[in-house]
Each structure stands twice: as C-alpha cells, then as structure tokens.
Symmetry: C2
Subunit: 313 residues, 2 copies
C-alpha cells in the first residue's frame, strides 16, 4: 500500500500566455500541480489557502481525483493570482503580475488527521512557513522541499535553517548554482548535500534532471516532447511523480529514487503538453508505461566494439 503524502504549497488562479495560446484563471499553484501528479501513485493530503471567490468546482475536482482537501482553508478575500507570459523560447518567462491576496497571510495549519504523513512535500513557500509545517508533523517522515531564487535571496538564513531537516531538496539549475555559489552543477549539487539534505534533485527543464547523493549520481534526460505548450507547474508535477513513486515503493531508497526521477520525468512530459493542469488529466497507466519505455530506450547504447580498436592501437 502506498503511503500518504502531505503537500503544503500554493493554490492559485493563473493567467498564462504562450505562443501556442492563452488561458485565464486556470486552476494552478505549486500544491495543485504536485497533488494532481502525485495522486496517480499515492493518497495525497493538501494543506493550502484559497479565497472565498474560488469556484468550489476546483476543490471538488481535486476531491474527485482522490485528493484529500481537508487541509484547505477558505479565507476571507481573493485567491492568489499569478500572470505569466512565455516567449517563443519557452525557457524564458516574464511574470506579468503576482497578487498574493489571501496567500499573503498564509499560516499553514496541518489538521490532526494529516499529522502522521510518512511523506511530506514542502512546496515553494517561505522557508519559515516550511519550517512551521515540519513542527506540526509527526516524525519519522520523508521530507522533500522545493524553493526558489526569491527565498535564496531574501530568506537565505531561514532556508539554511530548515535544510538539515530535509531528505530531498528539489530545485532548478539556476537556483542550485545560486544557493551553492558554484557554477559547476555537479559541484553545486555536492555543496547542497553538505547543507543537510541526503539527496538533491536539480531540475534542468528541457535538459532533464540530475540526482545527487553521497557517492551516487543519476542523470535523466527529458523526454523529447515536440509539442511543449505550457511549462507552468511542470516542476511541481515532476516532484509529484517523484514523491508519489517514493511513497508507493518498497525498494531501498537509492533504487527507488532513480525510478522516482524517471517517473517524475514522464509525468512532467505529460504536464507540459497542455495548459495549466489539463496535461495531467491525460495521464493514463498505459501512457506512463509507454513513456517510461521510451525514456529507458532514449539513453541506451550497446557495448562498443571500437574499444577493441582502441586497445589494438
């Protein structure tokens, strides 16, 4: 039986424009994308805050997908809104607006029923809030944490304070270089391990992901997706695939983590193919299986007979 996962993060309404179209007030946020990905593998418990303006159909949609919304507080005010625009190169994103609204006063409260969650995902919120969540859960639990450049720059001490309690740090490549103060990505990953987490996953978008652990390193390319439509939330969907796989695994952690990164890669490949959370709605077990097979084939090469030539020369 897969273990339950507690996720704490943002729930938002996103305005997104890419060269391939636009959506307004799409249901999103880090916790939403994570939950909608992780739920394929394990029970998911959501702690977040929304405003009274949120269409109840959104939360009902989460519940219909098996996500426990018992930790979603409905606060007086408006739901967090974010607007972003991607250029022709989907790697570059401009934030058009950020209206924190009720998210500004977010003080995550973990319901009693959620306190024993063997897996915890601390979505990208202020590290002091991430710390406060950890004070409310019962150990032992496997803790994964995502962060961003904003907190690295403005709340570095709080971030460094919470990292020793983290098992798996998830961040993107520019954040890894910035937090470690080291441009070589492998060295940056090693430095991050010294800050507390036993595993670090560095997300590289179209270039895949790197997993670093003491004495081990794993690299996954991204799947070659030609119709990337909207990368919003792909990193959280990736993390959802990773944590979901870990929570459902009975393998030793070093084996499970590689499988988990592969699964996160597969889930993220679905996520980017449509706007908002729509890509995740198209995930099927057979689709997962096929892309896992593709991912495995993608990096396979035979043993090289040219080595014999080398030896002969």
């Amino acid at each position: 039986m897969p273990h339950p996962i507690l996720v704490v993060g943002s729930v938002a309404l996103d305005d997104i424009r890419t060269p391939f179209g636009a959506v307004q007030e799409a249901f999103g946020g880090s916790a939403t994308h994570f939950a909608l990905a992780a739920r394929f593998f394990a029970p998911v418990r959501l702690v977040a805050v929304v405003g009274t303006d949120l269409d109840p159909a959104h939360l009902a949609g989460l519940r219909a997908r098996g996500i426990d919304t018992g930790g979603v507080e409905i606060a007086d005010g408006k739901t967090f809104r974010w607007g972003g625009e991607y250029g022709f190169d989907l790697n570059a994103r401009a934030t058009l607006f950020t209206h924190l609204n009720v998210f500004e006063g977010f003080d995550p409260r973990v319901p009693d029923a959620f306190r024993r969650s063997p897996y915890v995902f601390l979505g990208n919120i202020h590290p002091a809030l991430q710390e406060r969540v950890l004070q409310q859960v019962e150990p032992p639990c496997f803790v994964a944490l995502d962060t961003m450049n904003l907190w690295i720059e403005t709340a570095r001490d709080a971030l460094l304070a919470v990292l020793p309690r983290v098992d798996l740090l998830v961040l993107n490549d520019s954040e890894a270089r910035e937090l470690a103060g080291e441009p070589n990505l492998v060295r940056a990953g090693r430095r991050l391990l010294e800050l507390g987490p036993t595993s670090v996953v560095i997300k590289k978008g179209e270039h895949g992901a790197l997993l670093l652990r003491e004495g081990d390193i794993f690299a996954s390319p991204a799947l070659p997706i030609e119709d990337v439509c909207d990368p919003t939330g792909a990193g959280d969907a990736f993390a959802g695939g990773v944590l979901g796989t870990l929570a459902a695994s009975t393998e030793p952690i070093h084996v499970a983590l590689r499988q988990a990164i592969a699964m996160g890669t597969v889930i993220a490949s679905f996520a980017v193919q449509d706007f908002g959370t729509r890509g995740l709605d198209k995930v099927t077990p057979s689709g997962i299986e096929q892309r896992l097979r593709e991912l495995r084939l993608l990096t396979q090469f035979g043993s090289s007979p040219s080595l014999e030539a080398t030896r002969a020369r």
Copy 2:
C-alpha cells in the same frame, strides 16, 4: 580494421584564460582537437594550413601520435591565433582576438593519397571551403560537418548547399535553434534532418548531446565532471570520438551512432579536464572503459513497481 578519417579544419595557437589558469600559444584549432581525439580509434589524415612560425615540434607531436600530416600546408606568414576568456561560469566565453593570418587564405587541397577516405570530417570552416573539400574526395564516403553561428548568419546559402551531401551534421544547441529557426530543440533537430543530413547531433555542453535520425532519437547526458578546466576544443574532441568510433565499427549505423555519441561524450570529458589538448593526452583505454561504464550507469533505473500502484488506483 578501422577506416581512415580525413579531417579538414583549423590549426591554431590559442591564448586561453579561465578562472583555473591560463595558457599562451597552446596548440589548438578544430582539426587539431578532432585529430587528437579520433586517433585513438582510427587512422587520421589531416588537411590544414599553418604559418612558417609554427614550432615544428607541434606537427611532430601529431605524427608521433599516428596522425598523417601529409595534408598540412606550411604557408608564408603566421599561424592562425585565437584568444579567449571564460568567466566563472565556463558556459560563457568572450573572444579576445582572432588573427586569421594564413588561415584567411586557406584553400584546402586534399593530397592524392587522402582522396579515398571513407570518413570525412569537415571542421568548422566556411561552408564553401567545406564544399570544395567534398569535390576532391572520392565517394562513397561518410561525411560529417560542423558549423557555427558565423556561417549560419553570413554564409547561410553556401551552408544549405553543402548540407545535402552531409551524412552527419554536428552543431551546438544554440546553432541548431538558429539554423532551424525553431526554439524547441527536438523540432529544430527534425527540421535540420529535412535539410539533407541523415543524422544530426546537437551538442549541449554540460547537458550532454542529442542524436536525431528519421524515427530515432538518442540522448546522452554529459559525464559529471567536477574539475572542468577549459572547454576549448571539447566539441571537436567529441566529434573526433564520434567519427573515430564510426570508422572503427562494424555495427549497423543506427547502432554504431549511439555507441559513437557515448564515446564522444567520454572523450570530451577528458578533454575539458586540462588546458588545450593536454586533457586528450591523458586518455587511456582503461580510462575510456571506466567512463563508458560510468556513463551507462548514470542513466540506469530499475523497472518501477510503482506502476502497479498506478494500475491499482
């Protein structure tokens, strides 16, 4: 027996500064790095031009490593000189000076003894010169071509004219996007295939390489090298590993190409660990074997039992 490889490109003296040190008048150039990498796998024949100022020890060094310098013209004047500086982030490079000298009037002449070369590497020179080399070699031969943003921008027609005669196009990711006019790298690769070559290899530096063929795609991460010292020439060393492996292989091309990219990745990992061509001097058969093993392990993941969980949900 490995087949001979003809390489045509630049031979230069490089001034290189990186945060890890500096060298002056280091023996370099695209053809040099390529030849010193390919020679581990197959006989290499070099066509290039140098000035009368070049220390004869450099060419003697190539010959001592089994490279046939019979196509190196010694012209009146000075050898091509290039100066570059890398920042703390080795991905960004500033060119300090480019003195073409005798390279400016380079008109490659392929000696009779080189005309039957089953493998040809057209290093990064003007596409009209690359075309002129092809007019001098006897088909059939497997032709690989490298190019750069300068030619894509200033000699696009000449480049498009030579591409139909090319089997393998080798270029880096920004060049691939620019030549294809397409930011999605996979789609860019597919468009480049439409321009003539049957295979395209996109070099992504620290993120590895992508191989695209009709109906097939292969991704190799870079090896996790923590002590990257000087990336100059790494792309040419990569290509040398690729062509060398192909020239030594008896496998079908689609199998050989994957092995070749893996080998190019391994050779490039040695190349970046020292200045100029010094890294390549440290390549040994056992070193190659170990890094090939590391590369294979780097992307391996077990079959995921969490799929069962997915199915059950």
